[in-house]
Amino acid sequence: MGNINARCVVTGLGMVNAIGKNVDECWENALKGTPGIDRVKSVNSDACYAHLGAEVKDSDIEKNDKVDRVSVLCLQASKEALKDAGITEGSIDASRMGVIMGSCVGGVVSIENYIEKGEKTEDINKMSIASIANHVADMAGAKGVVTNIGNACAASTMSVAYACELIRAGVGDVFIAGGADAFASVPFAGFTALHALSENPCSPFNHSNGITLGEGAGAIIVESYEHAVKRGAHIYCDVLSAGISSDAHHITAPRPDGIGQMYAIRRAVEKSGIKYEELDYVNAHGTGTAKNDEAEFLSLHTIFDDVNDHLSVSSTKAMVGHCLGAAGAIEAVYAIKALTDNKVPPTIGYTAEDLETLKEKAGKIDFMPNEMKEKEMNYVMSNSFAFGGSNASIIFAKNEGNMGEKENDEDIYVTGIGIVSPVGNGLENYIAKVNGIVKNEEVNLVSELGKEDFDKYDIKLAFYRKLDKLSTMQVVSGIEAIKDAGFEFNDENAEDFGMIIGTGDGPITTVYEFQEHISKEGTQNGSAFNFPNTVYNAAGGYLSIKTGMRGYNVTITNGNQSGLGSVCYAANEIRQSRAKAMLASGSDENSDVMKKLYTQLGLVADAKGGIYENEKGIALSDGSVTLALESASNAASHNAKKYAKIAGYAMTHEGVGYGNIKGSDAGLENAVKEALKAADIDADKIDAIFGFGNGLEEVDSIEKNVYGKLFDKEMPVINVKDYVGEARAAAATLGAAHAALTLSGDLSKEQDAYFMKDGNVRTGKVNTEGFEYVLVTSYATGGSYSAVILKKVN
């Protein structure tokens, strides 16, 4: 069904930033070198050492109090892109349209509003990055894969890359991809604390004394070539390949040797099948910090100096600031406009003296100081590098390139499992609890990690004290999965091992506490220590630093199902990239902050009741669960134990409004049907379901309705939340882990189950011995569903 070399093309563009409210304005102003940087208005910088920012004019955006400013920006760019692409509601098959959005800080303005303006319930559902893609999907009526990528300043380059991968996997025809971030106190205070803000407008590849923050959104309609041609769409360009890597070095600083960046750049070029000398323009990450600029100078010179004598490089951040999670998408739009208009935008801010200095540093590369130039171009690249050591490069082209890598069509297996949960940590402990039928009786559960866990995996104080709870759980479950699988990697092949982290609420506890502190103490008093943990990909970043895994590293966030979406994404990476093995995680944290927010939303039970018993609340919980996935040949190379085979997977969306727990029967039904199709089996082959019900009637009823309709037999449903509570994304991954452990025979043959038929539920024991295929399902508020089918290994 898929073709990893299938052509993906760009058919629509949308953008808003400090120098324009649409693509045309943003582009013309960039070519003219119009600076968008001014004294900040939305953040109180009075007591800070730096005061500049590149804010979007309020008159340039629609007023909409129903969503966070980040979604206002994203919706505006997305609407422009859809219009540009000529896509209107009903004009294309909605089930083949998805939305992938990137963001760094998401709805952090709403966290500030919540804390400072009376703790309003309406602000709670605006806080998470997860809301962004949901609002765009609802606006566009998209019913395909909907998720967000939370890899800080590389997020929206990754979102465009993931959209292409999904098209090449055959699961969609059209994606709205991009990202957004709004100007906010948390990043301003954080970069102030790190002394990373420039007192003057940022000056990338020039003075390099800090960044200037910006805000905005970029949206790109990415479409399969056939689909675009069939509907007669205007095609801007092809999207060739992307390279994604992890530094495995430091949570905020790039590797000084640039090898992570260089891997991403080389991977993008090589997978695209073009030659290094053919690249015409790079829209650089170019933030203007000394460390970034030095590393990027080094990477570009090392790769291109000997082979390319006509490369132009510029940083549009000098005009629009560093738009964090929106930067990748905004700069991708700039790169595409440069390519298609044959005009290279400048990096502004060079004096006559600066130009002299630049000559020495630039070598053969034209760093485009102050003035745009016209130049015939065929291939352009956009670079994005981020906190957590995330690197992403992507190539846009006027032709189809020469993509020719082979898909990995081997079977993919679950070969390792790591578990951190409120009922104890470690796989063995979980097996003992399930076999002993030790069920949860609490409504508020937290996982605990201590010296014993750190000693077990040789995690030293100097490392773990830096981590917040979310990251700590992630690191421990990740290492356990790696050990359990017996992954063997070293400096030579560390790029072949990667991870996809799924999280529903991400580091909202840390962000909330950071905001609470600056609300009280002032923007000038942010904590340099805590700020790095406010990005959603910190957990994955720390895991790569601790383990040395330098491959693909992406954090996705769209509610609870992110923990199963990560399994789908990781399996797809093994298929499509050179990854030998991937981790797939689900992690979410419980805390006083989380308890307060979930309780205010009316979602937490007063007393423990039964799942599927029309109860009215969840047992709020947390944890981190990681699966190790490997291709058959890699598993064979080190005699890995195979818990189960990944037989098929699917992700769907049926918009019901973000934050609305009343989901959609059709959304789950479609996810299950698509997963069955991907596994190439009929519904009657499924022996049991590992479900997602959590004690909320609105959630539980969807499972009751859909399974009764889709399956003829009285279907046994096993639910891990009986043991660990509603651990959100961690519970979603645990569902898959529990299913794999059932198929492998590591759990007792007799298990407690709910038997569902015609909307009715009875409890009883199920004998799991003969199981061959099992289905794992998960949901997110807003109407997103994931389904994974696992098969017993004979």
Binding site: L461, R465, N525, S527, A528, F529
Partner: protein, 82 residues
């Protein structure tokens, strides 16, 4: 250390423990804070500078590294520059 110095050292220890999540039992006044000791890094030093500035009004930005060696040296610098 005199009484005043002991009070400052105790407060610095408390700040390191609270703000940098170093277990108090790992900290004495002599253990090296950076390198092979507790293993603090440049981001931690920003936090220490911010804490000492807000607590004692002593600015340590750009101050020589040896003053950050351990709690005793930090205390000495604070006392001398208050």
């Amino acid at each position: 250390m005199n009484e005043k110095e002991l009070a400052i050292a105790a407060r610095i220890k408390e700040m390191l423990s609270e703000n940098l999540r170093i277990p108090a039992e790992e900290l004495d006044y002599e253990i090296p804070l950076f390198g092979d000791g507790i293993g603090l890094d440049s981001v931690d030093s920003l936090e220490i500078i911010a804490c000492i500035d807000s607590e004692y009004g002593v600015a340590m930005t750009g101050v020589a590294k040896e003053n950050f060696y351990n709690i005793t040296s930090l205390t000495k610098y604070v006392v001398e520059n208050m």
